[in-house]
Symmetry: C2
Subunit: 388 residues, 2 copies
């Protein structure tokens, strides 16, 4: 029998790939709901292709436009109520949580509370609200299945293994566009330098996070919550080829690693097919044509953001939410040419200094920390408090 | 409760490592029986350390000597009856089958027939008698757990996975001592050249097999039987660093690989601890200090023995037993300086040409094929029929 799916963030990169995967298995899935922001053209195209019962968009005006162009074929909702309706669609067994930003938090939590399988691609879910989400999943029995290639790799390596026998998680990192740059060179890094990612084609924001290693830092926090492993047993290894997507070291010294082509469709499909594996309709990795794979430790001097994430993760409470929100503001300012590349770090350090952590926060407190950090980061930048 | 163990081939390299692993976990194991050949001094030392109830040696004379030096502390048996008694000791839950050569076949089969867990290090068990052994295991419910690092890697990668979702097994090979030699250079390869193995310290015979890739070919046949995967979905990849011990490619394109230091204690312990993993008391792999790992296809022109193994495996019946026996004779002649390195190949080709395969053989027929191949290989060499 086919499974019902809801896709939150359907018009983004993960959402589009998810639809491709789903359309490749028409007998296995029926899309019940799509939620998106304001990309009306792409959403209309998706509505034609997957014929959902419900779509949700960010605002009333967009909803009106979609309604006028779809007629009665689909129910159109908007705002938080719409997102939550999509996330909790009664016939959706699986919810793909792929919103970008804090807007994903409430709908994702509602899906978890209903005990659905949640395929997690929304970073904020575990970075900002890891404790709330994993507690809710424990209570409802919801399965949290990662979509990120790194966490999917670890999830696959842990399959059939005992969590108590895990010694260390090894998250691989390409090292990003500035992998081999000196601090002096980084001071002059322009937007175009930073957006030149070697292996993955991703959005601009995440490509900058890849260049600062902030992205990897957030993945460390996600891995902590998703797999219940303390921070001192999660390590990052620079692996420029992005073939080994991550690895798990066990107490006996054995290491299991997952490898694959850098294609998001693989982990997306796995999140949907698990515990099964289905034929993959994308290029294959050929072990005997890999050539050379490199592995080395990240340089904490050149990439301090990775350390900030560990600090924030260990501080716990609202600190990771504040770090994440400040990072979004800082990266946005960098992308708009308003601050130099290394000022991103400065903003983060200042925010972590200024933030008063609240422990065991509820979602409202997390959203407060998020808003506080955004506002404070913008103020710091506006006042030139981050010039080096 | 601790498990009873019998070690067949206790004084060899695998046997000695197994005893080390067992002594590191004194609360988990009790050694009930040891079987060895003629290495009396080492056996006596092992008797002192593990205090078995039964020991078996190859012949009556050796048995007398052991008896005279141990008194009534241990029962001493000899010959096939002794080996079988050790293999079927009623209090042995796990039998480590680590004899070298055809002598391991009957005791290993008896242990399998009794439904014991058999930790397989005896190559002949699956190379020469794979069909018999795996059928017997199906009937008795015996668990066959590999000890070879390559098969242990695959066994670990398959854990929790479905066999129907396996697309390909990737056996890694160091490439051996002559990895980068031309055929012209191989014509002049001396014993000392061939015994210079880059990563593993092993016996001379297996080090030669590593240099011809015959060892890897036999592992392909073993993998075929152990995991029930057809030959055209088992591949070999040259990986000089011997860090990735093997890998499994699934139908979705995802590849799981097992990595570790090249230390036999890891797979030996895993064969004993499975489905658990226990603390490993040996050096660890550090993912962030791996440096560079290389992967490339083996060269069939320079290493034709790998192809012979596939041929023999596909021919089935008694062919792999004949190939294995002929190879033992040929390698022995090479090690004694009687034939040049490349004459090993010539003997194997001649034997495969001459051998009349019997299909679905019983153990007796396999032993006949083994004896026939030994005799014929020796004759070929004596008559100089293998000069190039």
């Amino acid at each position: 029998m086919s499974k019902g799916v809801a896709i939150l963030g359907s018009t983004g990169s993960i959402g589009c790939n998810a639809i491709e995967v789903i359309l490749a298995h028409p007998d296995r899935f029926v899309v019940k709901a799509l939620a998106a922001g304001r990309n009306v053209e792409r959403l209309l195209d998706q509505i034609d292709r997957v014929r959902p019962e419900l779509v949700a968009v960010s605002d009333e005006e967009t909803a009106k436009e979609v309604r006028s162009r779809t007629g009665r074929r689909v129910e159109v909702m908007w705002g938080e109520a719409g997102m939550v309706a999509a996330a909790t669609h009664p016939e959706a067994d699986v919810v793909i949580s792929a919103f970008v930003g804090a807007v994903g938090l409430i709908p994702t939590l509602r899906a978890i509370q209903q005990g659905k399988r949640v395929a997690l691609a929304n970073k904020e879910t575990l970075v900002a609200a890891g404790e709330i989400m994993t507690e809710a999943a424990k209570r409802s029995g919801a399965e949290l299945v990662p979509v990120d290639s790194e966490h999917s790799a670890i999830f696959q390596c842990l399959r059939g293994e005992r969590r108590t026998e895990v010694d260390r998680l090894w998250l691989t990192a390409s090292g990003g566009a500035l992998r081999d740059w000196s601090r002096e060179q980084m001071m002059r890094a322009g937007v175009q330098d930073v957006l030149r990612h070697p292996n993955w084609t991703m959005g601009n924001k995440i490509t900058v996070d890849s260049a600062t290693l902030m992205n990897k830092g957030f993945e460390v926090i996600e891995a902590h919550w998703l797999f219940g492993i303390p921070f001192d047993r999660i390590s990052v290894v620079i692996h420029p080829e992005s073939i080994v997507h991550s690895a798990v070291e066990f107490v006996d010294g054995s290491v299991l690693a997952q490898l694959g082509v850098p294609d998001m469709r693989l982990p997306i499909q796995y999140a949907l097919s698990y515990p099964e594996r289905w034929e993959g309709k994308w290029p294959r990795l050929s072990m005997d044509r890999l050539g050379s794979l490199q592995f080395r430790a990240p340089d904490p001097e050149r990439f301090p953001c990775l350390g900030y994430a560990y600090e924030a993760g260990r501080a716990g409470g609202t600190m990771p939410a504040a770090l994440n929100a400040a990072n979004e503001v800082a990266v946005d300012l960098f992308l708009r040419g308003r601050i130099p590349f290394l000022a991103i770090e400065d903003i983060l350090v200042r925010i972590m200094d200024l933030h008063e952590v609240r422990h065991h926060p509820d979602l409202e407190t997390i959203l407060w920390a998020d808003a506080w950090a955004r506002e404070t980061a913008a103020e710091l930048a506006a006042k030139g408090r981050v010039a080096r």
